[in-house]
Symmetry: C2
Subunit: 341 residues, 2 copies
C-alpha cells in the first residue's frame, strides 16, 4: 500500500465525478458499484485510506463518505481530466450568438452571457486592454465654448470618452486645429508609446492654444494611462444560488467581490497570463473569500492576448465541461476580433 497506482487514480476520478454530480460525500460502496473497477467495496476502502493519507480526499466527519480536497481537484485537472468538447449544437449556438454582435460592447456582453449560460456559473470578461492596442482615431467635439469632449477609438474597437474643461473659449477653427494636431501625433501609435508623445503635445500647438492644449494633454494622459483600471463585465450572478453552490453565509462576500473591479482583475489577471488556460483552485486564488472557489480563465485576442475571460464557481465544479466551454468561447471571440484587424 505504499505507492500511488492506476486504480487509486481511478478511485479518485470516481470520487470527483460523483461528488460533482451529486454534491454529496461519496462512499466506497457507491464507487465500487457505479464505476466498473472490478473490485469490491472493501478494496476501494483501502485505496481511499491511502488517498486520504496523501491529502487528496477527506472526510467531513468520521464515518461519512469522502470528498475531494483542493489537492485532489488539482490532480484531477492535471492528470485525469479529459476535456469533453462542446456538442455540435452548443458549438452552433456559440457561433450564431456571437456573430450577431453589433459592436465591441456587444461582443463583450454577449460573451459574458454565453459563458454564464454554458457553464451555469458566474462569468467574467475583461474588456480588451487599452495597453496593448493602438490609437485608431481621436475625435474632439465641443459641448460648450469651454468644454470639449474627447473620444478615443482604438484598433480593438474600444471607445473611450472624456470631458475637458478648457481654460479659454474655443471657436470651431480652434477645435479643428487641435483635432488635426492630436491625430497627426497619435494616430496609429500603440498606447504604450502614447504618454511620451502626449508629453510633447502642448509644445507643438500654436502659442495662443497652448493652455488649452495642455489641458487636453492632461486628460489624454489620464485616458491612456490612469484608466488602465480595466473594465470588466459580469453575468450569471444568479447561478451562485444554485442549490449547494455556495452556502448562504459565503454568498455575500462573493457578491461584493463581483462589484469590485480590482478583485475581479486580480482573479482574472495574475502574472502567468500567457498560459492558454488557467485553472486556479481554492487557495490558489490567494483570496480569503475565494477559498472555496475555482476560477477558470483564458486569454483572448487577435494574435496576442488583449484580455482575459473566465468563469468562477465552487471548487466542486464540472471541470471538463467548464474548461471546454471557456476555451471554446475564448477562441471564438479571438476569431471575431481578428476579423476587425
Amino acid at each position: 500500500m505504499a505507492a500511488m497506482d492506476d486504480r487509486k487514480l481511478e478511485v479518485l476520478r470516481a470520487i470527483v465525478e460523483d461528488y460533482v454530480a451529486t454534491q454529496e460525500p461519496v462512499g466506497s460502496k457507491a464507487v465500487s458499484q457505479r464505476h466498473a473497477l472490478g473490485v469490491s467495496a472493501a478494496t476501494v476502502r483501502n485505496d481511499m485510506a491511502y488517498l486520504e493519507e496523501a491529502g487528496y480526499i477527506q472526510q467531513p466527519h468520521t464515518s461519512a463518505g469522502r470528498i475531494p480536497t483542493a489537492k485532489g481537484y488539482r490532480l484531477f485537472v492535471d492528470r485525469l481530466g479529459k476535456i469533453k468538447p462542446l456538442s455540435a449544437a452548443e458549438r452552433r449556438a456559440v457561433h450564431r450568438f456571437l456573430s450577431e454582435a453589433i459592436d465591441l460592447d456587444d461582443v463583450v456582453t454577449r460573451t459574458v452571457r454565453l459563458l454564464a449560460q454554458l457553464t451555469h456559473q458566474v462569468a467574467v470578461v475583461q474588456y480588451p486592454s487599452l495597453n496593448r492596442s493602438s490609437v485608431r482615431h481621436l475625435e474632439l467635439v465641443s459641448l460648450t465654448p469651454t468644454r470639449l469632449m474627447v473620444v478615443m477609438i482604438t484598433d480593438t474597437g474600444r471607445v473611450e470618452q472624456r470631458y475637458v474643461e478648457t481654460p479659454e473659449e474655443l471657436n470651431e477653427d480652434n477645435v479643428l486645429e487641435l483635432r488635426r494636431l492630436v491625430n497627426e501625433q497619435l494616430q496609429g501609435k500603440p498606447l504604450a508609446d502614447a504618454p511620451r508623445i502626449i508629453a510633447d503635445l502642448a509644445g507643438l500647438a500654436r502659442p495662443e492654444l497652448h493652455p488649452t492644449a495642455s489641458a487636453l494633454a492632461r486628460v489624454l494622459l489620464e485616458t491612456v494611462v490612469a484608466r488602465t483600471e480595466e473594465r470588466v463585465a459580469v453575468a450569471g450572478a444568479a447561478n451562485l444560488t444554485r442549490p449547494g453552490n455556495f452556502f448562504a453565509g459565503s454568498l455575500r462576500p462573493i457578491l461584493e467581490a463581483l462589484e469590485e473591479e480590482v478583485v475581479l482583475m486580480q482573479l482574472l489577471g495574475r502574472a502567468d497570463s500567457n498560459a492558454l488556460l488557467t485553472v486556479r483552485i481554492g487557495d490558489e486564488n490567494h483570496l480569503d473569500d475565494f477559498r472555496e472557489t475555482t476560477v477558470v480563465t483564458a486569454g483572448y485576442g487577435p494574435g496576442s492576448v488583449v484580455g482575459h475571460m473566465g468563469v468562477l464557481g465552487p471548487t466542486r465544479m464540472d471541470y471538463p465541461g467548464t474548461i471546454a466551454a471557456v476555451r471554446a468561447v475564448a477562441r471564438y471571440v479571438s476569431e471575431i476580433l481578428e476579423q476587425n484587424r
Copy 2:
C-alpha cells in the same frame, strides 16, 4: 371602534417603524412602551384589532406580534412618512463623489454605487434615453476597406458605436464625404426626427456611393431606433443578502431579474413617469417575483426627464430615508447634466 382616528395612525406608524428597525413582529406591549402614546398595551391591542380588520397589518400566526401589510406601508408613505433629509455629511459626500465624474459612463456608474451605498439596497440607474436627446456629432472611422465604424455622440454625452459592412471598398475621400453628409443632415437634430431624415439619406449621396450610403443608413436607423432597448446599470446586489432582507429562496429570481434589462426597465419605467418620485410597493409592481419588493424611483435629466433611477428592496425598508436619498441623488445628477447643456 368604528373609525380610523389619529391614535390608530400613530399605532400604525409605530408598528412600521419598529418592524423596519427590528425585522420582527411587534407586539402591543412594545408599542405602548417605546412610543409615548400615553395609553396601555390593552388599548393598543384594541386599535391593532381594528387595523388588522381594515387590512393594514397582519399576524404571521395566531399570538405573534403584527407586521404591516402592503396596504399598511402604502398608508405609511402616503400620510405618515415625513421624509428625513440627508445629513450635511451625506450631502457633502454625494456632492464630492459625483462631481469627480469623468464622463457620462462615469456619472452613471458613480450614481448607481452611491445610491446602493446610501440606501443599503440594490440600485438601478437607466442611462439617459436616446429618444429625448439629439445628435451632437457623427464620426466615421474606417477599420478595413470594407468595414466602417460609426460613432454617434448625443447632447447628453452618450456615445453609441456600430460596425458597418460596406458593399464596396472605400478610400479616405469617400469616408470624408460620407461623414460630411451625415453630419450635415443629422447634426443638432433630435433623435425622434432622425428616422425620417435617415430614410432620405442615401438619395443625397453621389450615385457611386449609393450602395454604401444605404448600408450606412440602415445601421444608423438601428442605432437610433432599434436600440431603444435602453441600458441600465446595477449595483449593490450584495445588499440582497443582508440578514432578513430576502429569504434565501426568493433570492434567485431577483438576481435573475437584475440581469434582464427588460424587467428592470419595467420596474423603473411605467407610464406615470412624470411623477417626481414614485414608490411602488409589493403587488403594485405587477411582477410575481417582486411581490415582496418595493421600488422607489425618480426621474432625472436636465430640464426634462431623460431617464430614471431608483432602488429596490424588501417592502420592509426604511421609507423616509430611502425616499430622501433617491430624491437627493436624482436632483444632483440632473444638475450635473445641466452643466453640459
